[in-house]
Symmetry: C2
Subunit: 231 residues, 2 copies
């Protein structure tokens, strides 16, 4: 699969898109409103230029509507905000996404009550499960959601072993995602297959400690490493 | 402080008690019903002998009611099941616990819907916060709740660096707990002060992935290591 559609146009979508182009993929970002996205100003907090400037600097990356991007893509990545993910996938259209692998890297963060955010769904459900339930014909794989975007696509930014968690019901979809992760620099030891999509609960529930560690460490450039006793 | 009262008599309480005696502390376990506890049979699943056999093998450890143990202890450890912790502390009696440091190592696990357990409280609240709110005169410090009991008291069982998280509102209470952790073998690099007691949400929410990793790795002898990029 060489055509990857990324749903979302924020900093996470952009950082992942840049890496995929570098790896030789064709990439289209999908947005609810193309002209509004093209008018997005510089985001100093996230150190991102105006969207149009970024597009000009990355001529290989295309922008289109959610439905056009989803119809075109052979593999889909959900990089929308968690609270809007189901809505964005409905706008993408079930006919355009069905049967495809959807790598869900979003988190159901609730910033409505200030910092640190809580989760809009957790414990007995998750965003990954919600998407799989709403779109049963899509092969949802949860992954990469437990770290900052730069680290997703360049694990060597943090030294030594550390982990990326993969959850999903479809074995071949997980194989496709794991192949993509390996191209991004993740090795066999670092990739942990957590089981079915219900494991998304467990990985999304890492976000509360992630956010607090971010504040504590004063850098987002860290990750979880699961260390096991020698047998 | 040389006298430590542990509320609870299960395998976690026993493993922590053994270590504290080894370190030179006086230890009393508190239970709701002394005679019932003394009659507890062997627990093959947890590889624990009958309670009376364990007591005979550990003559330095005393057993008494929750209120007697709490009144006697200079530092308290909550090793009861999370769902029963507030009830146990009420039975211990506010007059017996007020002003004291309470190291809360329990988790609000809900096994009522089968495995893996969910949490009875999370996201916008936690067991640590619940206890601090119910007993405002107690200095609650959440810690050690993110790993198996053998590792709590012997971190070298897992090689290399890995972390223990400490949360609490009272700085001197955290200092007391950190001193105890160091005696158990935790070093400065491994101890992360997460901030106030609301951070208990974040550390208790590690349990869902802990439980699934336990199943995946087929051993409870693992821990989280936070790996940070070099500056």
């Amino acid at each position: 699969m060489k055509k990857i559609a990324i749903l979302g146009t924020g900093s996470v979508a952009q950082i992942v898109a840049e890496k995929l182009v570098e790896l030789g993929y064709e990439v289209t970002l999908g947005t609810r409103n193309v002209s509004e996205t093209l008018a997005k100003p510089e985001n100093k907090m996230a150190a991102r230029p105006a969207f149009k400037v970024w597009m000009d600097n990355n001529p290989g990356i295309k922008l289109s509507t959610l439905s056009e991007a989803a119809a075109w893509g052979e593999l889909l990545i959900n990089a929308t905000q968690g609270v809007g993910s189901v809505h964005a996938l409905k706008a993408a259209g079930n006919n355009n996404i069905k049967g495809k692998v959807l790598l869900d890297i979003a988190n159901p963060l609730d910033f409505s009550k200030g910092m640190p955010p809580s989760l809009t769904v957790c414990n007995t459900d998750s965003l990954g499960e919600t998407i799989q339930r709403e779109f049963p014909d899509v092969k949802v794989v949860k992954g990469l959601n437990t770290m900052t975007a730069f680290l997703m696509v360049n694990p060597s930014l943090v030294p030594g072993n550390h982990n990326v968690f993969v959850c999903g019901n479809d074995a071949s979809a997980k194989t496709d995602v794991i192949e993509l992760l390996k191209k991004m620099g993740w090795n066999d030891k670092s990739i942990i297959d957590m089981g079915d999509i219900s494991s998304s609960r467990a990985t999304e529930m890492l976000l509360p400690i992630w956010v607090r560690l971010w504040g504590k460490l004063q850098t987002p450039m860290f990750n979880f490493n699961i260390v096991v006793a020698n047998k």
